[in-house]
């Protein structure tokens, strides 16, 4: 999906947990998530902790949209 959208000239970042799969199918901008059932917030942690993690990683994704890359890249997250 990401590839088709990118091929239309829309700058897109994919937030994914299965990075090898996303890389294999040709995603160019990737931001890791924490799991499959809850990519952006561990339900075992308090809601504000979940929101902070989500806010941080979405921020990384937005920065990825503003970053020039010349090959597929996984952007680093700190929480």
């Amino acid at each position: 999906m990401t590839k088709v959208i990118e091929n239309a000239g829309i700058t897109i970042v994919q937030m994914a947990n299965l990075l090898p799969v996303a890389k294999t199918v040709g995603v160019n901008r990737l931001v890791p998530t924490i799991s499959i059932p809850y990519p952006l917030g561990d339900p075992a942690t308090p809601p504000d902790v979940q929101f902070n993690l989500r806010h941080h990683r979405v921020g990384v994704a937005l920065d990825a949209l503003t970053t020039d890359i010349d090959e597929p890249k996984v952007f680093k997250v700190s929480i």
């Binding site: 239309a8 700058t11 897109i12 990519p39 952006l40 979940q50 989500r54 806010h55």
Partner: protein
């Protein structure tokens, strides 16, 4: 049963490169390589006609060549159509692909061809038809013809066919469910694969992912522009309004939905849910933002990092969905995004 065979000027004994402009013709019976095809098919299938066309004629006048050949075939009875083998001959391979594709579409009969993996016809047409893995040159004629005809005979008789790798043709990216005989359950198979991996032994995945072309990297958006533009949110994690109004399938989806999020800052439990059957839905149903982070993106809208959020989010389910279906759905969504002038997007997957 009846077959018709397409070959080029060389294998039709017209001539070599100097005859590559040869206009398409149809002859009764078997000419050149079609005799080898007839011999391999045996007495149960008659190769009633041979079509011969110069590779350059097909290459430079493709539409005209196809039109003429289809008109030759009009009204003829045939159960299967063969082209080649084309070996590593690029123009010939592409010609075999062109004509097989057109014949299959117009007459609905099975088409078979054979090419070497280096032949550009393989990448162009492998997803559309069965192309056998052929040799590099005409020295492989007998073997390549035997591979095509052996499969072709079983195909038209309705016999059991095996996956691409076992049959010896290039995978088309089609997934099929098979029953193992004797049965081995999935747990045993995957543990066996894991042991092989740990021991450094070769193993074969049951879900091979077709190699795909890279797409050009979309340009970065300057931060000051991002601060003025709408960002679209998409997910393959199955987030939908509660009750799944568009009945998006829980697996192997062929449908997608778009949902208006004007004025919504947070995806709440009981208002949104996931319909994805490939993961435990508890966390996503309790707080759909963990899959589709609308609340966090709204925060960036308020901070001014982005201009806004596109009016709709788009959702489907990624589990079991083939790449071909995903590409089709994405193509439909792209039209929506483009007509709304969207230039930036975030897609979350599970």
């Amino acid at each position: 049963m009846k077959a018709i065979h397409y070959i080029n000027q060389f294998f039709g004994q017209i001539g070599g490169e100097e005859a590559a402009g040869h206009e398409p013709e149809i002859r009764e019976g078997q000419v050149g390589a079609a005799m080898a095809l007839q011999a391999a098919l045996g007495s149960g299938v008659d190769v009633t006609h041979t079509i011969i066309c110069g590779d350059n004629f097909m290459g430079s006048n493709t539409e005209e060549a196809i039109r003429r050949i289809l008109s030759f075939l009009e009204g003829k009875e045939f159960d299967i159509f063969f082209a080649g083998p084309a070996f590593r001959a690029g123009r010939y391979g592409v010609a075999c692909g062109h004509i097989c594709d057109a014949v299959q579409k117009k007459f609905g009969v099975p088409v078979l061809t054979s090419m070497n993996e280096e032949n550009p016809g393989v990448e162009m047409y492998r997803s559309k038809m069965v192309i056998f893995r052929g040799g590099a040159s005409a020295a492989a004629m007998k073997k390549d013809v035997a591979a095509m005809t052996g499969y072709g005979l079983r195909l038209i008789k309705g016999e059991k066919l095996l996956p691409a790798a076992r049959e010896g043709y290039f995978g088309r990216g089609v997934r099929d469910q098979v029953w193992l005989d004797p049965p081995v359950n999935a747990t045993d198979r995957v543990i066996d694969m894991l042991f092989k991996k740990l021991r450094g032994e070769p193993f074969q995945t049951e879900l091979p992912i077709p190699k795909t072309d890279r797409v050009p990297i979309a340009p970065a958006i300057p931060p000051e522009e991002l601060a003025k533009m709408n960002v679209a949110l998409l997910t393959s994690g199955g987030i939908v309004p509660f009750g799944n109004p568009d009945r998006i399938q829980s697996a192997s989806a062929t449908r997608w939905g778009k949902y208006d999020i004007t004025g919504i800052d947070d995806l709440k439990k009981g208002e949104y849910m996931t319909t994805h059957a490939g993961y435990d839905p508890a966390a996503a149903n309790n707080d759909p933002d963990v899959v589709l982070p609308l609340d966090a993106l709204r925060a960036y809208e308020k901070e001014g990092k982005i201009g806004g959020i596109h009016q709709y989010f788009y959702a489907t389910v990624g589990t079991g969905t083939t790449q071909a279906e995903a590409a089709r759905m994405a193509g439909e969504i792209v039209e929506e995004l483009k007509s709304a002038g969207v230039r930036a997007a975030i897609l979350t997957s599970t």
